[in-house]
Every structure is written in structure tokens, then in C-alpha cells.
Amino acid sequence: MTTENLLEIKNLRVTFRLGKNERFEALQGVNYVIPKNSVVALVGESGSGKSVSAMAIMDLLPRANTEIPADSGMVFEGTDLLKQTEKQRRDLCGKHISMIFQDPMTSLNPVYRVGDQIVEVLRLHKPLSKNEAKKRAVELLREVGIPDPETRINSYPHEMSGGQQQRVMIAMAIACEPKLLIADEPTTALDVTIQKQIIELLMKLKQSHGMSVLFITHDLELVREIADHVVVMHRGVIKEQGPAESVFTAPKDPYTRALLACRPTIDKRPIRLPIVEDFLQGREHELPQGERSRGVSPADPIILQVNNLKKTFRVKQGLFSHKEVAAVKDVSFKLARGKTLGIVGESGSGKTTLGKTILRLNSCEGGEVIYNNKNLMGLSDREFQPYKRQLQIIFQNPYASLNPRFTVGDILLEPMRVHGIHDTDKDRADHAIQLLRRVGLDEKAFHKYPHEFSGGQRQRISIARCLSMKPEILVCDESVSALDVSVQAQVLNLLQELQDEYGMSYLFISHDLSVVKYISDEVLVMHHGEMVEYANSDELYREPKHAYTQKLLAAIPGR
């Protein structure tokens, strides 16, 4: 590795003009360097400015309302990019610096064949004939691991899987042998097994092409093995940067330590997850020590029993016929009182459908769900109504699960009114305010609307809504997946406290194996609608029996 720097970011400030007098300083004087032939990881939560700095390098920020002051500098191989013309910078893009994005599906042009999209970038920067460029495109597709590239070159993006689309994006990015590849959350939209493959591919290409990679991510663990240099950002400033080893083993900044600590890992299960405040307020030594032991024994009372549950969707096919597509095939499990069953699987595994079917939010095509000696699937809508308050759900997207036209008060009172809990609205409101306090919100929240809250706070409101009915079973459908790591820890802690306090049972659905390991007593692994493995969580993580489970576990980053 040479010591020469490829790109030096000097005191970079970026300000967005939002309204007439409104400004937002997204980057407040950022300095970092990208040495030649190295991997620099830029890590931070949402709003940290990590993507803004990448977009600034590519000149992709909207010129109309972006301000970069003159004392900022971006020196690429000795020339200051900020002093170049728009055209010069655009010519650099794709040629010397290229970029891949989070969502490959929308990032590829849907109406052109993938081959043509690769040919375009080749011919923009190199004097190649159409045929030469096409030949090169086939080679590139082969290099990024697309099988049968001669045929696939004629595919449209939507005909490929997410992982393949991202491979095409990578082929496009490396087509002109760039010196720097910027990868902005390149695996966040992908399943963990695919994520692993894409990262391995990027590292292989980095070696063979001798380029540098700027890897932007919210997940520190993801870059533990690949980064040479780590830059941790928070709200537009750099909190810490240095060689990867020192950042991971001896982090100096409390925020970095917090980021490393509050993400659940599969080898530890603390009583309570540390949160960012613990570190920023210097309480990190007061954290409770010891681990929580988990697991279900045959003696534990069973609250919910699911037998051979089936769910199929009808898809139109041909002139008059329909095709049945199974989303959930033959799933059986027992949920013990006061325990958590984690359901893991990748996208399309049927885990969310399973949760909704148990709650009768979907129809069900076979099997039974036994609660209180009653098969819930066999009840009429009217008979099922009183059971609804016993089984509740918290959704993934905290922005969509609260009615935007209701105040928080309305949201909390509605279930109590529907189920006739308390006699007067006054009593209900008092109860609602108690619940708000319980989930850690101010009572002033009662009169506010959902849009005035952050994602984590909204999830707390959703939890309060469920609590208002005192359910016995709570389905958490990817409930913490959309949250930043620091917020995720807080919500997970809250869920655990509530379980300890009220003795609720959780069905915890998630794609995130570390989180599931942390919170679950038992784990059920789903793949293509089938349950492939079901065991106590310690046992399953220690010695996975099914090949798919093994593959999943091997793909966990930082392992």
C-alpha cells in the first residue's frame, strides 16, 4: 500500500437552503483522506451527513439549493474538484470516480437492457465501437459473477434479482477502471446472504483493479473486516477516525463506543442493551453486568399453539385459470407464556404473512391456531372480535402505522372505546396518559399528531396503543428494523421491560439474526414459506442443523 492520498476532503461544509430563511448545515467542516488502494468506511446513523459527503464528491447534490463555501477543499490526485467546471467534474464521474447506490432496482434505468446501460458508460469515456463495448460488457458481467452473461446482457433490470441488479451496478461502476469506487449502503436493501456475496465481490474487485473504495454504511460490524480506515460521523461532524483496528478495539470517542455497544451481537446477551446516552453522559461503567439466560423448557405453560398453518395467494394465469402460490406452508409451533419466539427469514420467506395470518389480518387456507382452547381460525368475525384485544401487532414502518389525521390521544383512546375498556373517556384519557409515561413519552404528546414525532417515538406510541388493550400476545413485525441502531436499542429495552412487567408473549419477526438472538427464547427459521428449523435460540445459534440456517448464520457480518 502506498501512502499517497487519492482524495483529500478538507474542511468540507455543505449547507442546504430549505426555505426563505431556513438553512440546514449538513456537513460542518469535515476532514478525511482516502489513501490509494484502500478501503475507507464512513459510518453513521441517519442524518449524520455520510451520504451527503459522497454526493458532494460526485457533484450530485442539487446545485440550486446547495452551498459549499470556498474554503472547503476536495483534492483528487492533486486537483481541487471544487475549482473545476461542472463539465470537468461530470467527465470525472464514471471514469475516475464511480458510485453504486442503496437500491439497485430503482437505480438502474428500467426501460433499457442492462447491457446497453454498461455499454453507455463505456462509450461515454472510452473510444470504443459498439461491438467492442458490448464484448467488454459481457466480460464485465462475467467478472461480477452474473451467470451466462452472453444472454443476460439482453435482460431488463426487472428480470433480475436484487443481488444481480447490484452486480450490474458494480459492473457499470468498474467498467472504466475508476480509481475510486463509492459504495453508498450497497447492501442495505439486500438479504444477508446476498449482502455477504456482494461485499466479497467488492473486495475481490478492489484487489484486482487496484482501486480505493469509500464504503458508506450505518452498520459498524459490516465493515469490521474490510475497512482499512474508519470514519465515524454524527450530525454533520466527524466523531472519530483512524485505522480500523484501533477504532474497533480501542474506540476513543464515547459515541463510537456507544455505536459498537448498543447493537446486539450474537455472542452476548446483556440484561439491558446499552444506549447512546449511557456513553455520552459518562454512565458506561454503571451498565448492568451479567447476561440474561433464555430458553423454553417443556414445563412452561403454552399460550398459543399453531398447527399446520397454511396460507396461499391466488394469482391469475392464462385466460381464465388461477394459480395458487403458497406463502406459508405447514407451519407449527408453540408459544410459551411470557416468552419470545423469534421468526427469522429473508425477504419472501413468508414470515410477515405468517404473523398476519395468526392475527386473522389475512385469510387462512388451512391449519389451526389454538388460544384458550379455541381454534381462532374457525371462529366467525363476530366471535373473533373479543379475541382481537388479546393479540396485537406492532408494524415495521413507524411512519405508516399511525393514522396521520388522528392525534396521539385519538390513537390511544380508539381501542379502549372499541373494546369498552373503562366507562368514560375521562378514565380512558387518564389511562392513556399513564401509558404514554410508561413507554417514555411526555404527557404533552396526547394532543400532538404523529408527524411531530421521530421514528423511535412513533414506535413507542404504537406500543402504547397495544398496551391499552392489555394483550397477552404481541406480534412484533420487523418492529425495530427501520430504526437507527441507537434507537433500536432503546425500543428493544422497552419491549423487554414490558415483557418482564406484564408477562406478555412475543412473536418477534425479523430478518436481523443478531436482534433475534438477543430477544428470543426460541427461534423459528423460515425459507420460501417453509419452517426449516425450530429450536431454543441458544441451541440453534450454537449448532444449527439445517443447511439454510448454517448459511444464514455464516453470513452475519462481523462474525
Partner: protein
Amino acid sequence: MTQQQASYGFWRAAGKRLWADKLARFCMAVLVVYFLVAGAAGMGWVAKDWNEEVGVSYANPSFLGDDYPNPQGKNSIISQDVLVIDEKQKAVDPLAPYYEEIEKNAAAYEKAEVKPSWTLLLGGDKWGRDVLDKVIKAGQVSISIGLASALLAVFIGTVLGALGGYFGGKLGDLLEWFYNIFTSVPYILLVLAFAAVFGKGVSTVILVLGFVGWTGTYRLIRAEYIKQRGRDYVMAANAIGASHGRKMFVHILPNVSHLILVQLSQLVVDFIKAEVILSFLGLGVPTDSVSWGIMINEVMPELVLGKWWQLATVAVVMSTFVVSFGLFTDLLRDALDPKASRR
């Protein structure tokens, strides 16, 4: 209980956004004036006598004065020589003894009749009717038709769209069938076909426009209900145990109400324009009544005679209203739906 925090619900926030816009405030002021005048005309407080002959045919607008070259105006009148009847004639006239009586009767009659004036504030039409009164009355008719038919169309479209979008299934298919039928015939042809069968009249125009014009609202609301139906907050309401009615009207309706309002506002403009054209073609408001369309229908021969004031009046009055309403609709859409607004 906690005290009310300065917390803006959707409508207050949208209202504030709208009010912050100078152009929106101006448009609203214009519209309020029109609605007040139309209301007053509807109550019979103004423009009650729009159908009376208050001026001479094609009376000049006041600001032109009464000597503006006008074929039927004052200065071009063939002077009526007053027949002076002297004693000699009286002697041979067999009616002479009755002159006094005749004149008395004539005087009595003349008192009852208002002397047509040579000029009117904004001029007169062929029958000497006051253009100002006429345009006010016409405005009342056109605006009420626009409002009533838009309300009808939006009501039908919303109810059907909500049912079709929320329930789907067989009911949804049936409503889609209905929609397909209505949209496979070009809109204006369908209006004419209905008009051909149901004849003329203000209420017919309202019914025809309403019954033919619901399709756009239906499409929009149906799509919106399908979208909202799958949203997590509706799913959560379902998990709570809220009834279908509650989900449809308490949960989803407030989330699409802004679209309904914009749609209503848009349709008022569209239907006023449609009424104008229908009436112009003689298929809308009957000619013994008046509307902006009927007024424009009358101006074509007038223009050839150089009588431009009725056209100018109705053009300015109508365009001001429709342009203000159109701009207001746009601004309303921007304020209610900032994401979908023109970027």
C-alpha cells in the same frame, strides 16, 4: 389534563400554508366577492330586474356617453317632428274634443312606463336589458350549476370509489364495469346524449353534468382507498377490531378528504365551463333564463354591429372568476398535498 399545545393538525397546517401565499389570499378574496354577489342575486337582493327593458336597445355604457356612434343611439335617431296641432286643424279633426282625455290617458300610461335610458352603467343588450344586472344574474345561475353538479359528481364518485376500493371483489368488479361503460364513450358525447333525452333546464344540466362527471373522482378515490386499505394504520385498526364502516369513514376518509376537496374545486371550474358551452349551443339553460353561456351566445351578432360591451363584460367577469378559481385550486392542491405539488 394537559393544556392544549400549539400542535397543528393537517387542516390547520394546510390552511396556514395556503394563507401564507399572497396569490391564494387574493384569489380567495375574489371568490368571496363572487359568492356574496351570487348569493345576493339568489336571494333577489340584486339583479332582480335583469329581464326588464331598462334602456334602449344597445344602450351605450355610461363611460362612452350617449353620443357614441350608435345606429340606434340618441344622435342617430330620426328626429320625431312633434306634430303641432293648431286651431285650424282642431276644427276639422273629429277627435279634437277628446284630445284632452287622450292626453290624460296617455300621461297616465306613460307614468307607469319607465322611460328607457340612453346609457346604462355597462351598456344594454338588444332588448335594452342592463348588462350589469344580466351578468350578475347569469353568474348566479352558472356558479350554482357548477357548484351543485360538482357536489353531485363528487358525492357519487366518492361513495362508489370508496366502496369499490375498500371492498374490491364482486362489488368492486361491478363498479369497475360501470366505470368502464361511462368512460368508453367520450365525455362530451355522453353529456350530449343525456341532454338529448332529458331536455333543457337548470336542474337537468346539473343532473346531467353530475351523473356523467363522477368518473374522475371515482377513479381517484378508488385508487386511493386501495392504497390506504393496505397501509399499516388500517391494518392496525383492523387488529384493534374496528368495524368496516369505522375503517372506511373514520380512518381512511380523513386521509383522502383533501383529495376530495381538490377534486370538488377542480370540477366546479370544469362544470362551469361545460355549462357555458352547453348553453351556448342551446342545450343547457333555457333561453328565458340567463347564464354566462347564453350571454356569449347572444354576442356574436352584436359584435358585427360593433356592440362589444356585453362580450367584454361577460368575458371579464367570467374569466376573472374561472381564473381565480383555477389558480385557487392549484394553490389548494399545493397546500394540501405538498409532496405531489409541482416541483
